[in-house]
């Protein structure tokens, strides 16, 4: 009985792999004709009117929205590190320390 189920699972897995591989190869086969580098060529031509460094221009000017999400990933990573490993203890302690420090000396800097 269990052999039958295992063989059935193996068959389904093999079928799914074949379908996936066939569609992937079909996509790769005509891929060269699908690529149209039009806007990339245009931007490479006119981008250096802004600044000489083309990498920074692509990252910050042409794909600036991408970079916004990419830099928000770092915020999320820091947040998750503090949440998971600290479980809020660091946060509570520092808020208390800040509050105590600002209570001690008011009228100073900050």
């Amino acid at each position: 009985m269990s052999d039958k189920i295992t063989s059935l699972r193996s068959f389904i897995m093999a079928l799914a792999t074949i379908i996936f591989a066939a569609s992937l190869f079909d996509a790769i086969y005509g891929f060269k004709e699908l690529i149209q580098p039009g806007i990339s060529l245009v931007y490479n031509a006119i981008g250096t009117q802004l600044a000489p460094n083309m990498v920074t221009l692509v990252v910050f000017d042409w794909r600036g929205f991408d970079t916004l999400g990419e830099s928000l990933i770092l915020v999320t990573a820091v947040l998750v590190v503090l949440l998971v490993f600290g479980r809020g203890k660091i946060l509570d302690k520092n808020i208390n320390a800040d509050a105590a420090a600002s209570d001690m000396d008011e009228g100073d800097d900050e």
Partner: protein, 92 residues
């Protein structure tokens, strides 16, 4: 573009501000670290001049033959540390 006698001022001002921000957290007279006396600050600034001359015309490549942004940052760090650095409260 603000230029004063072939020196581009904008990046220098921004470097001073940025260095000031970082320098406000720098305690130059911490107990267990390097004691920054006046001589040490002067020595570091002279070393900064040497480094800036070796870096070359970094920021815009057409003004002075030293990296003005680098020097401005060092000055900004020291100014910020001298004004606010010893008194920053709420340490980590």
């Amino acid at each position: 573009m603000v230029a004063l006698a072939n020196i581009v001022i904008g990046p220098i001002v921004i470097a001073l501000i940025f260095g000031f921000i970082v320098g406000t957290r720098l305690h130059l007279s911490e107990e267990n670290s390097f004691k920054f006396t006046i001589g040490a600050i002067i020595a570091l600034i002279v070393g900064g001049f040497l480094m800036a001359y070796d870096i070359g015309q970094f920021a815009t490549y057409q003004d002075l033959p030293i990296a003005t942004v680098f020097l401005a940052t060092i000055f900004g760090v020291f100014i910020g540390s001298a004004l606010l650095g010893g008194r920053a409260k709420g340490d980590h």
